[in-house]
């Protein structure tokens, strides 16, 4: 067996929401390790805190005070400043949402490129990468279309292309098939599987056992912990 390099790990991760005067603990002391090149599925009931976990991993939200740590490679994501966090979101992780979340005014190509634009000047390198990704996802004839002109599956493929534009080491997907019918969902999973085969590390959240079977490994989130 080869040496497994840990790309991402959490230790004693805690996240509590405050609703009025009531504290609602969602994650309590969650430990998770994701190796380089691994595809991990996080399973759990609705409301178990899967999205919350993914937001923390993606640097979109911060854990509680003294709420544990998230290590990306050897860097503590939970402790960095705003600038580094923006960079982390932009280059180190790619995010795919259940509801696609494309920018409605932009075309398919522009949506794909937006992450590279946020990063800085658009290089021909990035443009080539965008075309490459869109071709890979069979969208190369829809470049000038706007999101509302696409089907759900197509939209999700654009969203995946967008998340990969800066070649992030880690792809986070929150119920990527949750809003799609069975067949379309399968095609999205094929895409992820394809990416995984090329070495992409993926953390995918789902409540569907069948979907989780496509991953290397599934973990169950219950009661704020990995069971």
């Amino acid at each position: 067996m080869s040496v497994r390099v840990i790309l991402l790990s959490t230790t004693k991760l805690k996240k509590t929401y405050r609703l009025g005067r009531v504290d609602v603990p969602v994650l309590r002391s969650l430990d998770l390790r994701v190796a380089q090149g691994e595809w991990v599925a996080v399973l759990g009931k609705s409301g178990s805190g899967k999205s919350t976990l993914l937001h923390l991993l993606g640097g979109l939200d911060r854990p509680d005070r003294n709420g544990g740590t998230i290590l990306f490679r050897d860097e503590e994501v939970t402790g960095v400043g705003a600038r580094r966090l923006n960079r982390y979101r932009n280059r180190d992780v790619g995010f795919v949402f259940q509801f696609y979340h494309l920018l409605p005014e932009l075309t398919v190509l522009e949506n794909t490129l937006i992450g590279a634009m946020v990063r800085g000047r658009l290089s021909t390198d990035r443009k080539r990468r965008a075309h490459e990704l869109l071709e890979l996802f069979e969208l190369n004839d829809r470049l000038k279309h706007r999101p509302r002109e696409l089907s759900g599956g197509e939209r999700q493929r654009v969203a995946i292309a967008r998340s990969l534009i800066n070649d992030p080491p880690l792809l986070l997907a929150d119920e990527p098939t949750g809003n799609l019918d069975q067949q379309t969902g399968e095609s999205i999973l094929d895409v992820l599987s394809d990416l995984h085969a090329r070495g992409q590390t993926i953390v995918m959240v789902t409540h569907d056992e069948a979907v989780a079977t496509r991953a290397d490994r599934s973990v169950h989130l219950a009661d704020g912990r990995i069971a």
Binding site: H55, G58, L60, D61, A82, R83, N86, R87, Y88, R89, N90, R91, F95, F97, H101, L102, L103, P104, E105, L106, E110, I114, G115, M117, V118, R119, G120, R121, L122, R162, S163
Partner: protein, 606 residues
């Protein structure tokens, strides 16, 4: 990079930003229009206020007046910084019209030609003789006469003083090409004069018949000179020059054109021809007599004819000590009226010949007797007055005036000129008798004199602008409201952008840029709109007036028939910058709101 893309897309895909741009446009246009019109008005008033003022004026104490003014004026006019200087005598009087109407007036005695040189007075004269309408016959007569004279002139140059040619041939050429042509030209001018006489083109101040007679005379004189000139060697160049002058005169006498006409009009403005003599006459402000009715377009139509009318001017002469003397009154005819667009002048001022007013005011040159309290005693014997004890004349009191108006030479600043004139006066007063003490003599620039009026309008302009800038805050609120709603609508987009790594500043920049773009578009459109509006403001005003019967700008109120206004580039740029700033200001808070959104919350936003 992404900010510009998103700004562009947000702009082109919505109606809202269009509305915001329009609000900015209207506010920008409004302020530029107000500013332009107010500034234009200020310019008109300033120019008008200058009408009867010198660039610099010298005011001695009024009762005392100033002697030796002719010398002083000549000295001043000789300075390189000064173009012209003119004396003026001023007093108050009571004017009574044949209608029984009485009008208090400011009486100003002037030497019209010099006064015109300083103030351009002739341009204010209202009733101008129309360009003489020549009929076809006259026109062709004048044209052929002029052609003949020009041909004669060039032939004269070609033939005269030619050496080594046959003397007989030269004489023949001279006769046919110079002398004959000049005679013929004289004949044509005489015919033109006759025709003008037939048509009754004899105006009191512009006599066409006389003009053509003068030209005929000059041509005739040229013919006589040409006939007498010796064509043999050595050439008589002095004589030839006289001939050339005569031809020039015949060609150029034309009172209709150029400066000569204005000066001539000025010179003749204060006299009327009655029979064979010219008598002193008055020029009064267009509103003094109330004989004329002001039209809405700024023109006047006479209700009663005022020109040629005899009025009576009464004044109260004041002696040097300020004591009043016996009131005096004189009849005078009205020769013309003037319009300066300065309310005070147009309603109150009358011009009369300087010498005429000096007499009436006892400011003329007078002999002084030895003892002031001895009066000549006239005793009537057999109906004949016999005078005893005629006092000895010991001195002559020079004529006096109350103001000297000075016009600066081009390039001389009024302030500089004022100091120069004051200094010159101080020296002059030392070397001449009875000059008022320089300490009591005011030397003022025109700006100092019209200052109060101008500053009133300036204040009004500032007030208007301030008001409208406040009104323009509505644009800020509009931009604010529109942006607030756009940001609210775009919460999810903001969440997405933040999720893929956009910084808070980057997100804020999208909306600031958006505001900037709306400001730039709105301001430029506003400036264009304002320019079009101001350029056509009078036509628009007329159009709205005709449609609604409501005229905002009337000559009665504003003194000027046309609405003034010229868009000043610097002012327009300032307003545009303001518009842009306001738009950014309006976008500021929404941008801050967008930046402060938490990405997760933004993504969860429904």
């Amino acid at each position: 990079m992404y900010a510009s893309l998103l700004t562009r897309r947000y702009l082109t895909r919505r109606v809202m930003p269009l509305l915001a741009s329009m609000a900015v446009m209207l506010c920008t246009a409004m302020i530029i229009i107000i500013w332009s019109v107010m500034t234009g008005w200020l310019g008109l008033v300033t120019d008008a206020g200058r009408t009867f003022l010198g660039d610099v004026s010298i005011y001695p104490p009024q009762t005392q007046g100033m002697p030796h003014y002719e010398t002083l004026c000549d000295e001043l006019a000789a300075l390189p910084e000064i173009e012209a200087a003119a004396p003026q005598l001023e007093t108050f009087g009571l004017l009574s019209f044949p209608t029984g109407q009485l009008q208090p007036v400011q009486v100003v005695g002037i030497d019209p030609v010099r006064y015109h040189a300083v103030t351009g007075y002739a341009d204010a004269l209202f009733w101008v003789p129309p360009d003489p309408p020549m009929d076809a016959q006259m026109r062709s007569l004048v044209r052929s006469a002029e052609q003949l004279l020009e041909d004669a002139q060039s032939s004269a140059y070609a033939v005269f003083g030619r050496e080594g040619t046959d003397a007989q041939r030269t004489a023949d050429l001279w006769r046919s090409q110079v002398v004959e042509r000049e005679r013929e030209a004289a004949e044509k001018f005489t015919q033109a004069a006759r025709r003008a006489d037939e048509l009754g083109m004899t105006h009191d101040k512009f006599d066409v018949v006389e003009m053509f007679r003068d030209r005929a005379d000059a041509a005739e004189r040229a013919g006589r000179l040409a006939e007498r000139i010796d064509l043999r060697d050595p050439p008589d160049w002095a004589m030839f020059e006289k001939l050339d002058d005569a031809i020039e005169e015949a060609l150029r006498i034309d009172y209709r054109v150029g400066l000569t006409e204005a000066t001539r009009r000025a010179g003749e403005s204060l006299s009327l021809r009655i029979g064979d003599e010219r008598v002193p006459a008055m020029v009064m402000g267009i509103e003094v007599s109330r004989y004329n009715k002001l039209q809405r377009d700024g023109s006047y139509i006479p209700r009663l004819p005022i020109l040629g009318e005899t009025v009576t001017l009464g004044i109260l002469p004041v002696d040097k000590q300020g004591g009043t003397m016996t009131p005096d009154r004189r009849q005078i005819r009205v020769a013309n009226e003037f319009r300066s667009q300065v309310y005070e002048a147009d309603t109150r001022r009358v011009f009369v010949p300087l010498a005429w007013l000096q007499k009436l005011m006892h400011f003329h040159e007078a002999n002084r007797s030895a003892a002031d309290d001895t009066h000549p005693e006239a005793v009537w014997t057999d109906g004949v007055p016999r005078v005893f004890d005629l006092p000895e004349i010991v001195a002559t009191d020079p004529a006096r005036i109350t103001t000297i108006l000075v016009k600066a030479a081009p390039g001389t600043q009024a302030d500089v000129l004022r100091d120069l004139v004051a200094a010159h006066y101080a020296r002059f007063a030392q070397t001449h008798d009875e000059m008022p003490n320089p300490a009591f003599v005011h030397v003022m620039t025109w700006r100092q004199q019209v200052g109060p009026l101008i500053s009133a309008i300036q204040t009004q302009r500032t007030l208007m602008l301030t008001m409208f800038i406040f009104i323009s805050f509505t644009a800020v609120f509009l931009v604010f409201a529109i942006f607030w709603s756009i940001v609210s609508e775009k919460v999810k987009d903001i969440g997405i952008l933040r999720a893929i790594g956009a910084s808070r500043a980057g997100v804020a920049w999208i909306f600031l840029r958006y505001g900037l773009t709306i400001g730039v578009i709105g301001s430029i459109a506003g400036a264009i709109l304002a320019t079009i509006f101001v350029r056509n403001i009078n036509e628009l005003h007329e159009f709205v007036g005709q449609a609604t019967g409501m005229y905002i700008w009337t000559a009665e109120v504003y003194q000027f028939a046309r609405i003034p206004g010229e868009v000043d580039v610097v002012e327009a740029c300032a307003v545009m910058a303001g518009g842009i700033l306001f738009s950014i200001f309006g976008a500021l808070l929404p941008a801050v709101k967008a930046a402060s959104l938490d990405p997760v919350q933004a993504l969860r936003f429904e």
